[in-house]
């Protein structure tokens, strides 16, 4: 093989490897679930009300981890359920949150998180009934929590009756047994990324129940993007 041919071959091989590495980085490391936009058309820092709707399921049959518990977020424009845990809301606005709880119960490791904090009035509602504490140890009636540490928000999510047959296909529909959890809170006036998480050890098969879906975007943790 001539020298120019060898040089060209070497360059092509090098570029192929570089392209492969770049693809891996982009595809696996930088890949992220979509962000559901709840901020469009709402002015920031006006106290405007934004209605965010989510659901938590016992599984995620639309993902490559069908046995992982998962949150879904409803697209406000289409009403479709999106497999993501990222959503954006306007700064300084009132969020009316509705979370449909389809998953069964698991007790908290720390029952402190049975208490409601950070909501308007320090209260949340389960099927319209107000509560300030949903004791996850008294009756195994809590499926997950929705917690944003940076704003001290924590709300335990009620779970369907112990005898109910849980939804088996995601996203679940309101025909399946569920609890409707509602609460309100104010978003910070300062734009930024505020992570949220579940505090129930629901990562089945992982140490302390805190691996897998608990540490993966699109399942039991995500970001609330506060935009100005």
């Amino acid at each position: 093989m001539s020298l120019p041919a060898r040089i060209v071959t070497l360059l092509v091989a090098f570029l192929a490897v570089a392209a492969g590495v770049a693809f891996l980085c982009v595809h696996y490391l930088l890949a992220s679930p979509p962000t559901v936009d709840y901020s469009a058309g709402v002015a920031a820092n006006t106290g405007a009300t934004v209605h965010v709707v989510m659901q938590e399921d016992p599984q995620n049959t639309v993902s490559s981890h069908p046995d992982w518990v998962s949150y879904f977020i409803q697209d406000p424009k289409t009403g479709a359920w999106v497999h993501t845990t990222l959503f954006s809301v306007p700064a300084g606005s009132k969020i009316d949150m509705t979370i449909l709880g389809y998953d069964g119960c698991t007790p908290l490791r720390n029952n402190l998180w049975s208490g409601v904090t950070g909501t308007t009035g320090g209260v949340a509602f389960e099927n319209g009934k107000p509560f300030t504490v949903l004791n996850s140890w008294s009756g195994c009636n809590v499926g997950h929590t929705f917690s944003i540490p940076a704003v001290d928000l924590n709300v335990p999510m009620g779970s369907p009756s112990l005898t109910a047959t849980l939804c088996g296909t995601s996203p679940c529909t309101t025909n399946n047994p569920h609890e409707t959890m509602t609460f309100s809170f104010m978003t910070p006036r300062k734009p930024g990324t505020y992570f949220w998480q579940c505090r129930i050890p629901c990562g089945g098969g992982f140490i302390d129940g805190f691996g897998g879906p608990m540490q993966t975007f699109g399942f039991m943790t995500g970001n609330m993007e506060v935009v100005s």
Binding site: N111, W137, I207, D208, F210
Partner: protein, 316 residues
């Protein structure tokens, strides 16, 4: 062939200058200046500050050791620079250096000075750590503290690490647990640090306190805050996805403000406190009766405590 100037100098038996004196005269002002700069200018800004007795003690230790180390470092640098300049290779000098057979006085001096410095540092460190009236290390001492502060019964604050937040329990105020860390000024505090899941590390930077939070272990650390104000708390042990966000601010307030806060918080959190297990130095979620009772109700099957060890892929 004509002899080089160096050869000519050697041949003439030129007297060597007193290098030791020269180096000493160069070193002395540099060492004194360095120590003065450290003592007067740098010391007040050394980490972690002086918000607590432990922090101040650490700052003083760093200051003291820096003052000891600076002359040593200055000597090494000056000696190296002197050697590079004075004993550098000169053009035309192909002669071998003189054979070295050792110098008992220099070696004895070197070993003695090094030994004295190291022993002084060891004695100083030990005295600072354990001496009466000092502040301890600010580090976790394990469940049986080897050093305890003087000056009355410490305020007990339990630090509970969990993915991904520290919570704080106050057993002397009804055992309420909160996400806010509040402590009174000029009051010895005993942090009882533990974890509910993986290993975390409680690092109250400005207080000079850092203690590992291990599951099943009560790691005790002491401090006494000397100034009011905010301090930052970070997790110093990589503990999962949101380790970097496992941070919050603590507050040192007056004793009056602390008592008012504790009384108010105790009432506010009464309903949640009732749902907590009795105060204990450690919590093993796998054997807390209420958890196992709830799990039994749910019909979840799995290993002890139903919290899914790595080899037990049981789903709820």
């Amino acid at each position: 062939m004509a002899a080089s100037p160096i050869e000519a100098g050697h041949a003439a038996g030129r007297a060597e200058p007193n290098h030791g004196l020269r180096i000493f005269l160069l070193w002395l002002p540099v060492a004194v200046a360095a120590d003065l700069v450290i003592w007067i200018v740098w010391a007040p800004h050394l980490p972690p500050g002086s918000m607590s007795d432990t922090a101040h003690s650490q700052q003083w230790s760093i200051q003291f050791m820096a003052v000891l180390a600076a002359p040593v470092m200055a000597f090494v640098l000056i000696f190296a620079a002197y050697a590079l300049i004075v004993w550098r290779h000169r053009e035309g000098d192909d002669e071998d250096g003189p054979p070295i057979h050792g110098h008992a006085r220099i070696q004895a001096t070197w070993i003695t000075v090094s030994a004295v410095i190291v022993l002084c540092l060891a004695a100083f460190g030990s005295y600072e750590l354990a001496g009466t009236g000092f502040a301890g290390a600010g580090a976790g001492e394990g469940p049986s503290a080897i050093w305890t502060p003087t000056g009355g019964t410490p305020l007990q604050i339990q630090v509970i690490g969990q993915q991904w937040r520290f919570t704080y329990r106050y057993p002397q105020f009804g055992g309420f647990e909160t996400t806010a860390l509040m402590l009174p000024v000029n009051q010895p505090v005993q942090f009882n640090v533990t974890s509910l899941d993986v290993i975390h590390s409680f690092w109250a930077y400005q207080l000079g306190v850092k203690a590992d939070a291990n599951p099943g272990v009560n790691n005790i650390a002491f401090t006494t805050a000397k100034h009011t104000g905010k301090f930052i708390v970070r997790c110093a042990e990589l503990c999962g996805l949101w380790h970097g966000a496992m941070t919050n601010y603590g507050n040192v307030v007056s004793m009056t403000a602390f008592r008012a806060w504790a009384a108010k918080t105790r009432v506010q959190l009464a309903a949640v406190t009732a749902a907590l297990p009795p105060y204990a130095t450690v919590y093993d979620p796998t054997v807390i009766p209420q958890i196992n009772k709830a799990v039994a109700k749910s019909g979840i099957t799995g290993a002890n405590g139903y919290y899914y060890p790595p080899n037990d892929p049981v789903q709820p």
